[in-house]
């Protein structure tokens, strides 16, 4: 059995793997064979984890970009025109905070942060669906766009796809850990 076939974001100490940089995060001196040879067999102990880790990293990066975008938009709205639509803009700010939290929760190891990841990403999923539906059926409620209006249309539907991917990824990690 491969010694190191563990989820990438491992939230428990894994003595055999701990030193190999398989956790998500930055590994300055990665000499991972998977990085050099993408066709390496997944039965190898060293490259089984990084592959998943890699996709996880892309997820984290996209979350980071969206957190930046939501924050930028929210700051703009609050500085420039908060009185025009306090509800929509408060929601924008809330969404921005949640995206930042979710990004951090995906990076930081630990059971608590994992729980926060579930909560924040679940919140995003519910948020984009509820606000998406409301903005279509009762558009008077949201005369100004939020990041979630029309299921995140203003952001290429990334806000709709991303939490789904995030939840899927978290569930997959959980399954692997069990």
């Amino acid at each position: 059995m491969p010694a190191c076939e563990t989820p990438v974001i491992s939230f428990r100490p894994l003595p055999e793997c701990e030193t190999k940089g398989h956790r998500i995060g930055f590994d300055m001196n990665s000499t991972d064979p998977a990085a050099q040879n993408p066709t390496a067999s997944s039965s190898s102990t060293r490259d089984a984890a990084p592959r998943i880790s890699g996709v996880g990293r892309v997820l984290v990066a996209v979350y980071g970009i969206l957190a930046l975008a939501a924050t930028g938009r929210s700051v703009t709205q609050i500085i420039g025109k908060f009185d025009q639509a306090p509800l929509a803009y408060t929601l924008s700010a809330l969404a921005a905070v949640v995206y930042i939290l979710a990004t951090v929760a995906l990076i930081v190891p630990g059971a608590t942060w994992r729980k926060i990841a579930w909560i924040t990403i679940g919140f995003e999923m519910v948020g984009v669906i509820v606000i998406g539906l409301l903005s279509i059926f009762d558009s008077a409620l949201f005369p100004h766009d939020t990041v979630w209006s029309y299921f995140g249309r203003g952001y290429g539907f990334v806000p709709l796809v991303l939490p789904a991917l995030g939840l899927f990824w978290l569930a997959k990690q959980k399954g692997k850990r069990a």
């Binding site: 995060g25 930055f26 590994d27 300055m28 990665s30 991972d32 998977a34 990085a35 050099q36 040879n37 993408p38 066709t39 990084p50 880790s53 890699g54 996709v55 990293r57 892309v58 990066a61 996209v62 980071g64 970009i65 930046l68 975008a69 930028g72 938009r73 700051v75 703009t76 500085i79 420039g80 290429g156």
Partner: protein
Amino acid sequence: MITWLTYGITGIAALAGLMCVVMGLLGRKPSDLSLGSAALVELLLLVQLVVAIIAPATGNNIYGDPIEFYAYLICALIIPAAAVFWGLLDRTRWSTVIVGVGLLAVSVMVIRMEVIWTTVAA
């Protein structure tokens, strides 16, 4: 804003982004080419920043909301820098994909900046 410059940046960022995504998916680690293309986009965005600051003095005024415009520009400036930083620290092929995704995002943001610059705010 200078229209041809804006579309030039959009095009270069989109091409470089696609190139990095493809290179990353092919298994290339961050290289001089991928990180260099991100650095080029960053440089062009700095040019864009200077142009945006100088343009109103030459009668090329912004029609939209300047706060929104600069919010986009600042975010766009952060992304390639952060992506290169990531690519230098995390030497896996996924970093190359991340640089590419970041550049594609920049490309869209520059289009949005052009729209804000040329459209009267509601």
